[in-house]
Amino acid sequence: MAMRVKNRTLKRLGAFAIWLALVLVAHSQAYASDVGNCLLCHKYPGLSRIDENGKYRLLYVSEETFNRSIHAKVQCEGCHTDIKKIPHDPAKKVDCLTQCHIIEPTSEQKFSHKGVEEFLEHSVHGRYDKNGNLKKFAEDLPTCKDCHDNPMFRPLSFFKRVRPGISDAALGRCRVCHSKDEFIYRFYNHVTTRLHTTRNPKNIAEVCARCHDNSELIARHGLSFKAVATYTETFHGKSAEYLSERVPDCLNCHVKKGQSPHQMLSYKDPQSSTYKDNKLAVCLTEECHPSAGAKLADYNPHPNFDRKQNPRQFYFTAFFILLTGGTLLPLMLVMFLDLLRTMFPHASLLRKK
């Protein structure tokens, strides 16, 4: 009798353990990053305030969107390291270089963006010059959040090239060896997002435009034109405007092959991809214009409509403006007047009543 009771108890305990495990697994999938239940408050889009400097502080986090972002596996406390309890004091500014709980699989060490800082410091956007002196107007130079918001997964599907995003066929192949769907989706998203840029050319140009189309910043740093506005005047820029993924964006030309955008150099640096002697190699890459002649290096990808800077472009463009305006303006005016006469056959400005 006692044995039967003991067996029954063991079965119940076993069933409870299985139920508990299922609940925990389900919970961990739904709220992968929110172990602290931060979304209890932060799921509300209205959670916000205006700070002492008149700046709008929005404290809302969209769970659905966050879970489709590159940082979905990072817990809130991974970045907001100063928050140890709820309710918490006003959170400090996040340090993107902090170590988070994610383990980098190749080094098996805690993950950090620390390496990016070093790249950035040696790049054209670094705050120090080659002699280690702080550059003039260093405060204008970008830090992480000036270029990056939370990047979204942008998976690429090669499957029949019909639609981007998740390819069910590819996932099917993953499932042959891997059983956990959460892992499969995340791994697939990670790899296919990294096979191209996380932003399309139009969005990349928009990010660069925040500074490079800002007249104040351009003037202060001795630049001579709006980089993105001039890019959008070109065939490349216009295609990007129409969301083409197959035209070069800022990074394709300004980042040396095999390097990261954080390593971008000034066009005056002989190591730079945009240095006058290296420009041709950028255009001649296999994806772009492999059979083009050497003269392609003369192509100006930032045609500024300015007589002094680009006289050839200026007069060429001016000619077409004159041709178009000179032809269309009188023609359309005549058509417009003709239309008016048709609509109001007896109207006259001169007739006296």
Partner: protein, 281 residues
Amino acid sequence: MLLGLTVVWTVMIWNLTFAHLYKGDSHEVQTAKDPGREQPKPVEGKAAFQKQILDSEKTVKLYLGYQVLEQKQLLGHFHIVDIQLKPDTRNYCISCHGDIPHDKFKDLRAFGNMHASFIACQTCHIRLEGDQATHIFKWYDRATGQIVPSPVKDGALPGTYNAKIIPFERVDGALQRIDSQARIDFAAEYRKQEQSLSEVQKSKAKKIIHQQVSKQPYMCESCHVQQGSLLPFEELGYSKQRIDAFVGTEVIGMIKNYTQFYLPHILEPGIGSHEPEKKVQ
């Protein structure tokens, strides 16, 4: 009229063609002769307004390939803001106080503003008593101002409703929403004529507009309470699960944590320092 049309037409074509030759919208910028020496000038007045208010947020589209994600982009903000609530066209309080009005108490201001996104100001800031009290609350659409069925029932995510809760009062025996058209018109007229009013007239108008406002607004515990909540959650369309969450230990416990040490200040807004005192264990 004909002449006007002709001028408009000509200007349009001019802008599309010849204006490019003259206009300063070429991509050239005034380059500093010695960029290293020029100090940035502080932005003031109209330019500061443009930079700090108009340019500080805009709507952008992220082209993800499988989805175009429209988001409100705030300068220096990391998380994607994928939702934009429609402006509340009915609420006459926000025309002066703004849509993010809570500011006084550091610990509570964000929570106050969060609730203000789906609860009309009058719900907490007016205490209806006696014959006026009806205990009737309904949802109104932020865009049209009309009373609408509960948006909660549609399965919308918490706080993403384009509707707000408004109390009803009883006036001469008849039921009416507290933000009556007469009150809206009065407040609108005040704003229209504010510049031309004398100081005495301004004070009178403000007094009348704020006549119903209670010095002691309803606080968190008025609704987040197991029994006798101010808001009839069930009638407002909330499910039992959601109601349990509102009055559960997580929410109530947090409210206690936030309020127990600051209670005197909360109950007497405006008295004493605006900075909450240090917590005393």
